[in-house]
């Protein structure tokens, strides 16, 4: 083993907060060899980002308690003074962050931010020379027409383009180490595949040692040489890729791997319900007018969010709705439930047309159709107690009151796996998963027939994601519920759905039984979508890559 490029010994990072001392990183040690891709994987809050940021001293603040050692080549970084640290940041160790939307300063052009990175370390480089280098860098990361792109602002770039620009900026001074903290989590699966390909290419061509932080085992399998698994600030498993995937020693790691939903594993077969259609949608259209005008706004353009969609869902069935960001999934689900007035087309529920009903006419039907939301932190009113939130629908439809109401709510909480004692607690006292359970309890309150879940698990960690999907499946069996399950991760959709519809630019491009859509997709877009999903199995990944890219 050659001399390690970077070695971290017994790193401990604690934050003094209002609620007491949070020990984010609790004794972490590892080495990074030149040219190696080291993946750090673990659930949210396991300390991955804090570990990475502490390497370049970004977590220093009056309330931080640091100790242990971080050696880059000969120099010790843990207690390096600011000047030393500045010479390391960007020049020897570069970083790429998770959310491209906010990682660039919105008021400066992309080119200027790249030039700033260059001249921070090479003041002798002139502005024009810096610009030329910037264009070169953007070109090298696959951004077409770099000449024009360099003058544009961050908000004029798509998510994928911005992440490429971020990587270009990181490479500006040819660093020895690249730390990428969840570089593709915020991107669509097709874009994610391209970025991962770019990172692999950079690692191979420039022998660039890379620390890749992610919570997605598929991404680990796609790129990593060695793997560290973190849990509660400690490294619970370490080793080569195959050792960790196939011979994990630590129980937590094994449990984590088991919870990962594999696209290629066929779900247990369920008898196809085939009952009478509960929900029928014919040529549903929802356009959002774009208004502009000198004096009075008149319509100049239309966003065709849902552009003529037809499908039906049988009683007790789960229809999976999958598609990339902006494909119209949320708009479709809200238009079906009449939360958005459809532009045209028909929605029939239990044979009765509900498109165009007034709010008063819709009220009784609301009880039968409920919705579950994506963001656990925004879907519960922060100022209300859990009990009140779940009781609200019952009180609204005058189904119960007083002690009987409280009893019903506690039964619902119990049914979704929360203890009745939580009745008087507030949302901020719960984790993401627990909040999603409250959302489900609320949806069940009026014994609905149809539940539309708009990305119910996208914001959750892998292990918790599995628990929620299992809960939804149990409820379906017990209560005979019908689901429309919306998500952008086709793996999760396949796991829960009987039939799947793939949306692209407001249209359903493919629709059919889950196995048939996933294994013999007829539509080219669906095929591309499936190919881009990283498989959490190194051997499978190598096999696929071998056949295509080698």
């Amino acid at each position: 083993m050659s001399e390690p490029l970077l070695s971290v010994n017994d790193l401990r990072v604690g934050f003094v907060t209002e609620g007491g001392l949070v020990q984010a990183v609790d004794g972490v040690s590892f080495d990074l060899a030149p040219g190696e891709v080291l993946a750090i994987v673990g659930e949210s809050g396991s300390g991955k980002s804090v570990t990475a940021q502490t390497i370049v001293g970004l977590t220093r603040s009056p309330n931080t308690r640091l100790d242990g050692s971080i050696r880059l080549g000969g120099t010790e970084l843990i207690d390096a003074d600011d000047a030393q640290l500045r010479r390391v940041r960007g020049e020897r160790i570069a970083m790429v962050f998770q959310d491209p939307m906010t990682s660039f300063n919105p008021v400066y052009r992309i080119g200027n931010q790249l030039v700033e990175a260059i001249r921070a370390h090479r003041p002798e480089v002139s502005e024009t020379e810096g610009r030329r280098r910037a264009i070169e860098l953007l070109d090298s990361v696959g951004l077409s027409d770099a000449e024009r792109q360099v003058n544009r602002y961050p908000h004029e770039f798509s998510g994928g383009m911005r992440q490429r620009a971020m990587i270009a900026m990181a490479l500006a001074l040819e660093p020895e180490v690249l730390i990428a903290d969840e570089p593709t989590t915020a991107l669509d699966v097709t874009i994610q595949a391209q970025i991962l390909e770019l990172l692999r290419q950079l690692n191979r061509e420039r022998n660039l040692a890379t620390i890749l932080i992610t919570h997605d085992f598929g991404v680990v399998a796609e790129l990593a040489d060695r793997v560290l698994v973190m849990h509660d600030g400690k490294i619970v498993e370490r080793g080569d890729l195959d050792d960790v995937f196939y011979a994990a020693k630590d129980a937590y790691t094994r449990q984590l791997l088991g919870a990962v939903v594999r696209l290629d594993q066929a779900p247990s077969l369920r008898p196809s319900p085939g009952a009478a259609p509960l929900l029928e949608v014919r040529d549903l259209v929802k356009h959002f007018p774009v208004k502009r005008g000198l004096l009075f706004d008149r319509e100049v353009d239309r966003v065709r969010a849902v552009d003529g969609v037809s499908f039906s869902v049988a009683q007790g069935e789960t229809l999976g709705l999958v598609g990339e960001s902006g494909s119209g999934k949320s708009t479709l689900s809200r238009t079906v439930l009449q939360l958005l007035a459809p532009t045209s087309g028909s929605v029939r529920f239990e044979g009765r047309e509900i498109g165009g009903l007034s709010r008063r006419q819709m009220r009784p039907l609301r009880a039968d159709m409920q919705m579950i939301f994506q963001d656990p932190y925004a879907s519960l009113n922060p100022r209300k107690r859990i009990g009140q939130i779940v009781a609200e629908p019952l009180r609204l439809h005058r189904r119960a009151s007083g002690s009987e109401l409280r009893r019903k709510v506690q039964k619902l909480l119990d049914r979704v796996g929360l203890s009745p004692a939580h009745y008087d607690r507030y949302p901020h006292e719960f984790s993401g998963g627990q909040r999603q359970r409250v959302g489900i309890a609320r949806a069940l309150a009026l014994q609905p027939k149809l539940i539309v879940a708009d990305e119910p698990v996208s914001a959750l960690d892998v292990s918790i994601r599995a628990q929620i999907t299992d809960l939804l499946e149990d409820l379906q069996e017990e209560l005979g519920l019908t689901y429309v399950f919306v998500a952008h991760d086709i793996g999760v959709v396949r796991h829960v759905s009987d039939r799947i519809a793939v949306m692209h630019n407001g249209k359903i491009v493919e629709q059919g039984p889950a196995d048939q859509v996933c294994e013999q997709p007829s539509d080219p877009y669906t095929r591309a979508l499936l190919a881009a999903v990283p498989v959490p199995d190194p051997r499978e990944t190598r096999a696929r890559r071998g056949s295509s890219a080698l």
């Binding site: 390391v88 906010t102 990682s103 919105p106 971020m166 004096l295």
Partner: protein, 318 residues
């Protein structure tokens, strides 16, 4: 850009019209003495009051009176009831004093507001931050007119360091001009320095937790450069809008400071007219003030769109 200007102009005209109607109603609908009686003086006879009423058209229906009044204001020959002199000339004469006072004070509070805000944000939690916070909060809490009276008494009448009010033209003697305006500038600026430093401090503390600041540090920029080029630059955008609004409002109402320091500006003229319930100058000055409020409002939006490329002028026009 053109579309924005046209919409904003129409908006301005509508607001100014509404403001003028409001001012007219306040002095005509709500009961107070009849202007003709005020003009006739103490030896008035019914016949004299009648002929004044007829001469000035006080007997005409209100809308008619409103139109004649607005016609006069816009054509520049509106005459005051009490001393029958041309109001527009008096306003024009008052402009140099009021503008010097407002713009000077604005410059003062902008520089010190930003300086104090920046220092207390960069050294948040330190002793300097606490001192500046106390100074700022005290500044916000001082009644302006009281400060003016106290400063005038101690620094001018008693100690004689400063002149006891009055306005000296900038073109005549620039040095004397500044010397006479120092106290009034200070009085007007103290409150705003407190306010602006508080706003900038909280904006900067928010900006410090943004992702692009973390990226800037990761690029190896010096702390000072991160603080100025990234944190301060983004936190100044709301300050510019706030400044646009404040200056507009200020131009409309520097009544107290002008009266106490006898600057003979528009604010003082407004106050004298108000006391005399002299409608023509009140209407003219209210419109003059409102015009600047609305104008600076629009300028603030343009500045905002210029500083923040994400904001397009069209959608900020509503």
């Amino acid at each position: 850009m053109g579309r924005f200007i046209v919409r904003r102009l129409l908006g301005m005209v509508a607001v100014l019209f509404a403001v003028s109607v409001l001012a007219f109603l306040i002095f005509n609908v709500i009961p107070n003495s009849d202007p003709a009686q005020r003009m006739a003086g103490r030896n008035a006879t019914p016949q004299l009051v009648a002929s004044i009423t007829e001469e000035w058209g006080f007997d005409e229906p209100l809308p008619q009176q409103y139109l004649t009044m607005m016609g006069n204001i816009l054509s520049g020959d509106v005459i005051s009831y009490t001393n029958r002199e041309n109001v527009d000339e008096r306003i024009v004469e008052g402009v140099p004093a009021t503008f010097s006072l407002c713009l000077g004070a604005a410059l003062l509070w902008l520089t010190f507001g930003i300086l104090f805000g920046y220092l207390s944000a960069v050294r948040a939690g330190g002793w300097l931050d606490r001192v500046l916070t106390v100074v700022a909060v005290t500044g916000i809490s001082i009644p302006v007119f009281w400060l003016a009276a106290v400063l005038l008494n101690y620094l001018s009448y008693q100690a004689g360091i400063f002149p006891s009010g009055g306005y000296v033209g900038l073109t005549e003697e620039p040095l004397d001009w500044a010397y006479h305006l120092l106290l009034p500038w200070l009085t007007l600026a103290v409150v705003q320095i407190g306010f602006y430093s508080r706003v900038l401090r909280s904006n900067m503390l928010d900006a410090m937790s943004e992702d692009y600041v973390r990226t800037a540090r990761a690029k190896g920029l010096s702390e000072r450069r991160v603080m100025t080029r990234h944190v301060l630059r983004n936190s100044l955008i709301p300050i510019v809008t706030l400044f646009g609004l404040d200056v507009g409002v200020l131009l409309g109402g520097t009544i107290l400071v002008e009266a106490i320091f006898n600057l003979n500006g528009i604010g003082q003229y407004a106050f004298e007219s108000l006391k005399g319930l002299d409608l023509p100058p009140i209407m003219a000055i209210v419109l003059f003030g409102a015009f600047f409020v609305v104008l600076f409002n629009a300028l603030a939006d343009i500045a905002y769109a210029y500083l923040d490329p994400r904001v397009k002028l069209e959608d900020s026009a509503q």
